[in-house]
């Protein structure tokens, strides 16, 4: 989905892939990774996150490894979107490929932990609980199509079926 609303989990800048998907969990599959997701940054996250919640992070979210579990673990946990002033370019590709919406919002720092925010990627806008609108960078249409389709795999499936 490219629009919705959710409760906010605030995270610091430079959250890396190894915090999202710790190396020691990688051989056990996504369930195990989910149980340890962000344990070094927000120990209350993995147990407390609810379907439809939103992460609002500091700059350079997702730096580090190419492991896409760092993005798919958030899909697995039901996150609706990640909002940050900037993302790792490699993480951004992985996120859209697995159906996770990322919104680049220079003013993400204004948003509070626990706040309820609305987002609309096609309109390029976050709406705070107070009604204040924060602009987001535009996302290319083909990436929005991908995230609305649920990622690259369902898109490829459709493409192969209609061939």
């Amino acid at each position: 989905m490219s629009a919705g609303a959710g409760r906010v989990w605030r995270l610091p800048p430079e959250v890396d892939t190894d915090q999202l998907a710790p190396g020691h969990t990688m051989k056990h599959g996504i369930e195990r990774t989910a149980g340890h997701c962000l344990e070094a940054v927000r120990p209350d996250f993995a147990a407390g996150v609810r379907r439809g919640d939103v992460i609002v992070a500091g700059a350079h979210f997702g730096i580090g490894s190419s492991r896409e579990q760092a993005a798919s673990v958030l899909v697995h946990l039901g996150l609706a979107a990640v909002i940050a002033p900037s993302f790792s370019g490699l993480y951004l590709r992985n996120a859209f490929n697995v159906g996770l919406l990322l919104l680049t919002c220079p003013k993400a720092g204004l948003i509070d932990d626990g706040e309820q925010v609305g987002f609309d990627a096609r309109a390029g806008r976050i709406t705070r609980a107070s009604g204040e609108a924060l602009p987001c960078h535009p996302i290319p249409g083909f990436l929005l199509d991908m995230v609305e389709a649920g990622g690259l795999l369902p898109q490829l499936k459709k493409r192969l079926e209609t061939r």
């Binding site: 190894d18 710790p22 730096i63 490894s65 190419s66 370019g89 490699l90 795999l153 490829l156 499936k157």
Partner: protein, 421 residues
């Protein structure tokens, strides 16, 4: 519209089947080589290919390397590696390197990456391939599935950041120090997923292994690719590694190519160290507080190639490491280890008190033998994120192989120039 182009633009234009491309436009590129390993490859690709009922687009363009979960330490690792081996047989993959070392070193050592090629790898340090004048970058497993099924990938044509290094590095200072200096200055996302091209006389003077270190750590700069324009050094190295007679002539940046230019002086560069817990937390080694170490780790695609082992041996030859320090050496590939054995380099390291580990990703990714609680580590690897190499309480510093070896000798983080003098 400008007609001059950067090396990155020329490489992307070729792969996109276009006369020229402009930074910012989105293009579709044909992939010449898709590399993946036991962690990102078969165990993820196999079920997705089955779900799609699809086949590999061109087996001759696929290279599989078993390097992350070997040697198999437990049942889960055995299951992952067995799956990779079985799948490689089922698929009759022609290029498989099993337990031969780390993909970013093994694949070029078999001549697979050549000037002008467009390549993807299922690992963030795939940017290493840029040392050979190829456009190579890391992608995740689902995107790799797309490549494996279609042979294509989309790309936003990057801007180029030119990192021009004048002068010559001092003895005991290396490509790793150049990278740590740049990452310290620009930060881990300073490359903004654009192309970084290393150039200038200090870069031209570097051997291939050192150029690989520069391009490898383009990942820590947050660039999509790191590039060095191929030259005689590239051609000679490739000729010695199964790829003779390559044409490097078309692959350079035009004099006035679009891009942002930064200048650095290699001659005045001191050894650099990244402090816990970020590769961007960089100081000159001499500006550090006295830092006692427990473990000195020479490993990874970044810091355990033959040239890295030679650097360590130059520091350690004829000496013993400090009491209470553990020096671990995991050569980047079996070929590098064997060459180091032939040259006597391994003998110097072992006589100094080093423990030899398997040629695999090992402790670098925290997949293999991990670092203990509370340990202070100086490491020739690329990343010191909190907990990456094992315990979250470990304090991991990053330095060059020279610095790691000098630190093992002194028992504290040390400047190799003092030892080599």
């Amino acid at each position: 519209m400008t007609t001059t182009a950067s090396l990155a633009q020329k490489l992307v234009a070729r792969a996109a089947g276009r006369a020229q491309v402009q930074p910012g436009e989105v293009v579709t590129c044909r992939v010449d080589l898709a590399m993946f390993h036991d962690s990102s490859g078969p165990r993820r690709l196999k079920p997705m290919l089955q779900e799609l009922g699809a086949q590999i687009w061109d087996r001759s363009k696929v290279v599989l390397v078993m390097d992350h979960y070997v040697p198999e330490a437990d049942e889960e690792s055995r299951r992952i590696v067995r799956l990779a081996r079985d799948w490689a047989r089922e698929q009759a993959l022609p290029h498989v390197y099993d337990s031969q070392g780390i993909c970013h070193v093994v694949v070029p050592q078999h001549g697979h990456i050549r000037p002008g090629m467009f390549c993807v790898g299922g690992d963030s340090h795939s940017s290493t391939g840029g040392a050979f004048g190829a456009y190579m970058f890391g992608i995740g497993a689902t995107e790799m599935l797309g490549v494996v099924v279609t042979g294509e990938i989309w790309l936003q044509v990057p801007q180029t950041l030119f990192m021009r290094w004048s002068g010559r590095l001092a003895d005991g200072v290396s490509a790793k120090d150049m990278m740590l200096a740049m990452i310290g200055r620009f930060g881990m996302n300073g490359g903004q997923y654009q192309a970084v091209e290393y150039c200038g006389e200090a870069v031209a003077a570097l051997p291939m292994a050192e150029r690989m270190t520069l391009c490898n750590m383009a990942a820590e700069l947050g660039a999509q690719v790191g590039l060095v324009a191929p030259d005689e050094t590239t051609r000679d190295w490739l000729a010695a590694h199964g790829a003779p007679g390559v044409d490097s002539a078309p692959w350079f940046s035009d004099e006035d190519a679009p891009g942002t230019r930064y200048a650095f002086d290699a001659s005045s560069l001191a050894p650099q160290v990244a402090l816990p817990h970020s590769p961007a937390n960089v100081r000159a080694v001499d500006d550090l507080e006295p830092t006692r170490i427990d473990v000195a780790y020479i490993g990874a695609c970044t810091g355990a190639k033959l040239d890295d082992l030679r650097a360590a041996a130059r520091v350690l030859a004829g000496f013993k490491i400090a009491a209470g320090v553990q020096l671990l050496v995991a050569p980047a590939s079996v070929a590098d280890r064997e060459a180091a054995e032939r040259e006597g380099v391994m003998r110097y390291l072992l006589d100094a008190g080093a423990t030899l580990l398997p040629s695999a990703c090992g402790a670098c990714a925290g997949y293999g033998s991990a670092i203990a609680e509370g340990a202070t580590v100086i490491s020739s690897t690329a990343r010191n994120f909190k907990g990456r190499m094992g315990a979250a309480t470990a304090q991991v510093y990053l330095g060059s192989p020279y610095t790691v070896a000098a630190s093992a000798l002194r028992g504290r983080i040390a400047d190799a120039r003092e030892v080599l003098r």
